[in-house]
Symmetry: C2
Subunit: 208 residues, 2 copies
């Protein structure tokens, strides 16, 4: 931030009174401009034994596979945001269920929250955000072509929990993980451990 | 937002290309300014049969009791933020445990996340943010003088789950609630059902 969004004057970087860290402060109107992490909300859309994946039609990670997810918007709840993103990216109407993963990605200032979701019908379609949308059984997951580590972890945990019978009891365990890897984009078909984080901390980086 | 934080020119409110909702867009440099909900992260600090409460020394809700919590900062994880806020507001060092509540407060564009936390010692103290800090047993909770609905819900669920033996098995249930009440401040000692939501959607409203 270089200019005050309230009055247009230049801001300076300093610690405001009664605070303990540097903020962008306007010396003209006194406005203090806080910046905070953003939530990415999404779902694991399930139909019978399959999950719904989307092939990204936008950068970053164009052409890689993802679960439907995106930035939470003002005025909505986490579950509303997860359902909205699912519809926008995959065309699927879902019933959002339990929270499943909470994944901190502090180097890009994001928290990813994925919910289990029941597909209400086998209806889905490509969109402006997705080149292709498909239902995939565990054996068909393109592990080497997933867009982000949070997608990899969420899918892996989903199939693990399902194999252990943990998803059916109405009380799935919420998994929390911190992903501290530096930003690095994997080459196509790279080893999964080298899979990418979002390429930038700015809002459009994940693909709202 | 009135002015572009990147170049200082006036912004206009419109739907950018490839988007579906209005944003503040700069017609000079092209910057799109996204706004997203903020996370408030906190803990239920536990020592033996008591929890640690703080009496707020800042507005909103000056003089009301709260669990230690505040806005998540850039570069930290939800648990790091919860531990930091706990230390800042109460002077207590805690070991942050399982996620316990996820509370959407969409009318103030916030998500509150509370973690169970073990106090590492019976050490705590008032701070710039807290007039008083004390360990309280269930019978001593000042239900009529709690600062926010999210504090009320989190404490109520904590004591319910504890009574039902749900906290000791290493797999507490995560509770998710949406608080859709309009903003309204309760008079002191008002009925609990009328307890207040944060009084403003701006960042300093909760008390960073």
């Amino acid at each position: 931030m270089k200019f005050c969004s309230n009055c247009g004057h230049a801001v300076s970087r300093r610690i405001p009174p009664d605070d303990n860290r540097e903020r962008d402060v306007c010396d003209n109107c006194g406005a203090i401009h806080y910046e905070n992490p953003r939530n990415v909300v999404g779902t694991v859309p399930v139909l019978e034994d399959k999950v719904l994946l989307c092939k990204r039609a936008i950068e970053p990670r164009y052409g890689y596979w993802t679960l439907p997810a995106g930035f939470m918007e003002l005025g909505e709840t986490t579950t509303q945001g997860a359902a909205r993103e699912t519809l926008e990216e995959s065309g699927a109407h879902v019933e959002v269920g339990e929270l499943f993963t909470v994944l901190n990605v502090p180097h890009v200032h994001q928290v990813h929250l994925f919910y289990l979701a029941k597909m209400l019908a086998p209806d889905f379609a490509p969109s402006e955000e997705s080149l292709e949308v498909k239902l995939v059984a565990e054996a068909g997951i393109p592990w080497q072509e997933l867009a982000f580590p949070t997608i990899h972890h969420t899918l892996k945990l989903f199939f693990q929990d399902r194999a252990e019978g943990r998803l059916g009891d109405g009380r799935p365990r919420v998994h929390q993980l911190d992903i501290n890897r530096p930003m690095r984009l994997a080459a196509p078909a790279a080893n999964l451990d080298g899979a990418a984080s979002p390429s930038s901390a700015s809002a459009p980086a994940y693909g709202a």
